[in-house]
């Protein structure tokens, strides 16, 4: 097996896949397969079997107890025409903006600023402390963060409204979680705060493996910060960007906790998302079959998006390695 080291020490394995120069030794292959077995079995038991059972249930009319009644594709047909589901799905797209797009962009800028500016001028310790501060919301349980944010965003005596009043911007006061025109954006704001630490940490780790000589050379050539960021930082940490975008998009599509704690999908369904919609259908309406159909559709959508993301990432990396070779 060929193992090469490139890009500032990152280990990239498996060149034989691209060049076909080596053949796979048979014995290690089968031995390694045995090591994978427990993981595969656990995956089967915890993911595949429940998913198949869930899919099975989605073809039934069932209240969760007693015998399920086979209903074929009826749940899926109903889902296609369920405006509540599609509204919740539209809200999911807003969540993708709040949890994947915005944190990725902000995370990139913040990571570069912490790495290039704060780290160099104030020391790496200060940069590490700031990084930890940004990461803190990721460590907090979402239930705790949600409750604190519901206090901050409370219409009367909420900190945000009080702050606006104190600085003379009382006219901007809102019922942040209670106004149907504002609530979704408020939840999105909270999610940006929750999510920002993850891309930041990943990007800062990525930046550490970028060869400093590249920056030095660019600086000597007279490139300013923005040009170095655009032409060196971005291309160098592209794999991290792919991972963060993919991970955050999946997190956004299955977001549940924040909506549950902050708004319970309200007011009037303005912040409902598919996972919460599925939850209420399952447990509150006891329409287990229909709830299963919603979660099956959601799983398939997430799976397809994940596969597309992975494919794009592999293709980009292959193209990059092809260029280098």
């Amino acid at each position: 097996m060929t193992v090469t080291v490139e890009r500032g020490g990152r280990v990239v394995r498996g060149h034989h896949r691209h060049h076909g120069r080596t053949t796979r030794p048979r014995r290690p292959h089968t031995s390694y397969a045995l090591f994978l077995l427990p993981g595969v079995l656990a995956f089967l038991a915890v993911i595949v079997v429940p998913f198949l059972m869930n899919t099975g249930v989605s073809f039934t009319d069932w209240q969760g107890v007693g015998a399920p009644k086979w209903s074929g594709l009826a749940n899926y047909r109903e889902l296609m025409h369920d405006s509540e589901f599609w509204a919740s799905f539209r809200h999911s797209l807003f969540m993708v903006v709040a949890m994947a797009a915005v944190p990725t962009v902000l995370g990139l800028v913040l990571a570069a600023a912490l790495f290039d500016f704060v780290g160099k001028h104030f020391g790496t310790k200060i940069a590490a402390v700031l990084r930890a501060c940004f990461y803190l919301p990721q460590v907090l349980p979402i239930a705790v963060a949600g409750i604190v944010w519901s206090w901050i965003l409370a219409p009367d005596n909420g900190s945000l409204n009080e702050l606006l009043k104190a600085v003379g911007l009382g006219s901007l006061q809102q019922d942040w979680l209670g106004d149907p025109d504002v609530a979704l954006y408020s939840v999105m704001g909270v999610m940006v705060w929750v999510q920002i630490g993850f891309p930041l940490v990943v990007f800062m780790a990525g930046l550490q493996r970028v060869d400093p000589q590249l920056y030095e050379a660019a600086e000597l050539d007279g490139a300013g910060w923005w040009r170095r960021f655009w032409h060196i930082t971005l291309p160098q940490i592209r794999p991290e960007i792919y991972v963060v975008l993919l991970w955050c998009t999946i997190a956004a599509l299955k977001v549940f906790g924040a909506v549950y704690v902050l708004t319970k999908g309200g007011p009037g369904g303005a912040t409902d998302v598919p996972s919460y919609f599925s939850f209420t259908t399952f447990f509150e309406k006891t329409q287990v079959g229909y709830g299963a159909a919603i979660s099956t559709v959601l799983t398939v959508i997430i799976l397809v998006l994940a596969l597309i993301g992975l494919k794009l990432q592999t293709r980009a990396e292959d193209a990059e390695e092809g260029l280098r070779a």
């Binding site: 045995l34 077995l37 427990p38 079995l41 656990a42 089967l44 038991a45 915890v46 079997v49 429940p50 209240q63 969760g64 107890v65 007693g66 519901s150 409370a154 219409p155 009367d156 019922d175 942040w176 979680l177 209670g178 106004d179 149907p180 609530a183 708004t263 319970k264 999908g265 309200g266 007011p267 009037g268 369904g269 209420t280 259908t281 447990f283 509150e284 309406k285 006891t286 329409q287």
Partner: protein
């Protein structure tokens, strides 16, 4: 052909796979069937009136059953609510369990044959005589799981009802007398609005808003209207006089400032705290707040039943149910019997609960006396009208969501009522 080593690995892998699959399907132990253990689950807080009373009942039970141990597990309401069908289908079922009453909960479980028929015990032990008609409704379920008739599947040991809580100090400050009619109440609210105070504590994200609305409807309704709506004894028309009055009055009250538009996203706790802090002079809600207000209110307060209405929200409390698979049913019946005894019922009453079989003379706390007296008045005139979310599974969420729209003004009363009609018709059994 497999080598010995590989065969061993394969065998281990198959065993592991089997155990994982079994684990994923929910393993279970065999439970107790020795007549020496009573496995009991409930979700009342240890300091609540019910929690204190049930703890005393456990002591009493153990004293009366030497050698029998009560194995009590404290559960959360949600925990039992969401997992009950699965638990009751397994060997892990307790011998006795507290469960939520209503068609979509206890009714559904009884319909699926997961609960024990308690009819014979209820007659033999006289439970049926102790419970008033309104309280008893949630004990009995027919073959379709609809409450109000049929076999006994649960026994409530306490009751609950809604009332108007008001801040006497604030009323005095603004020269307002205790309202005895709806006009008085409206005049009082006008006075508060003119002083820049939002009179009614409300919570649009939870039950409170829909309960205001249902109470308004009840003030124009009678028992047969409730029976149509809750027990499907006839067709419910959400555009009838009662519902229309409720929706238009509620929307009007928001417009007039009796209810804050900003209450859309508030939870019941927020509304309760607003009353406790003296910010909202009036709160309409259930007896479950009573004990807390008694402890936490720093001002003079009192209660009255909703003026000009024979009906109000309320019912028997949560039920004791005996799972079909319970191992020690006789012990479970004995325990229910103890919770129905005068001693436990009196304790419950003195701790701020609403007992169903207490000795009036034994209730010493004056506030508790008022609470129980009001309940007896209500019960005497058959005034318990249950809750608006009961008729249809998932209707709670519909009511929350739609009433929020009514508060924000994004939906007119007529469209609001049509939305309720659609959800109700979809979920209610066809009559």
């Amino acid at each position: 052909m497999l080598t010995t080593r590989r065969r061993a690995v394969a065998t281990a892998a198959v065993a592991l796979a089997g155990s994982l699959l079994l684990a994923s399907c929910g393993g279970s132990d065999s439970g107790s069937s020795d007549g020496k253990t009573l496995k009991l689950w409930h979700y009342e807080g240890p300091d609540s009136a019910m929690g204190v009373a049930w703890n005393e009942a456990i002591k009493e039970f153990e004293a009366k059953h030497p050698g029998v141990k009560v194995k009590f597990e404290e559960k959360g309401f949600e925990q039992i609510q969401k997992t009950a069908p699965m638990v009751l289908n397994s060997n892990d079922a307790p011998d006795i369990m507290e469960y939520n009453k209503g068609n979509a909960t206890a009714g559904l479980l009884s319909k699926q044959g997961l609960l024990t028929d308690l009819t014979a015990e209820a007659t033999k032990r006289g439970w049926d005589k102790k419970l008033s008609a309104g309280v008893r409704t949630t004990s009995q379920y027919d073959t379709n799981g609809v409450m109000g008739s049929g076999k006994w599947y649960g026994v409530p040991n306490y009751a609950e009802y809604t009332m108007v809580f008001y801040n006497k100090d604030l009323f005095k400050k603004y020269g307002i007398a205790e309202p005895t009619t709806l006009d008085d109440l409206t005049a009082a609210m006008d006075t508060f609005v003119s002083k820049g105070i939002t009179p009614l504590a409300n919570a649009g994200a939870e039950y409170m808003a829909q309960q205001y609305l249902y109470q308004l409807a009840l003030s124009k309704a009678d028992r047969s209207w409730v029976d149509k709506y809750e027990l499907y004894k006839g067709k419910t028309d959400f555009h009838d006089a009662a519902w229309t009055y409720a929706a238009t009055t509620f929307a009007d009250w928001v417009k007039k400032g009796y209810i804050s538009k900003k209450s859309t996203s508030l939870k019941a706790e927020d509304a309760g705290v607003s009353f406790i802090q003296g910010k909202s002079p009036i709160l309409f809600s259930g007896s479950w707040w009573y004990g807390r207000f008694q402890t936490e209110n720093k001002f003079a307060w009192d209660t009255f039943l909703w003026p000009g209405s024979n009906l109000t929200l309320g019912s028997g409390g949560n039920l004791w149910v005996v799972p079909k698979g319970a191992k020690n049913k006789d012990l479970a019946y004995d325990f229910i019997d103890i919770t129905m005894s005068k001693k436990i019922q009196n304790l419950l009453g003195n701790k701020g609960g609403v007992p169903v079989g207490a000795d009036t003379a034994a209730i010493t706390d004056p506030k508790a006396k008022t609470l129980i007296a009001d309940f007896n008045t209500l019960s005497g005139k058959d005034g318990l009208a249950f809750y608006p979310d009961w008729p249809v599974a998932g209707f709670y969420d519909v009511l929350v969501s739609e009433t929020q729209k009514l508060i924000t003004g994004s939906e007119k009363p007529d469209a609001y009522l049509s939305a309720l009609q659609t959800a109700y018709d979809k979920g209610a059994p066809k009559t």
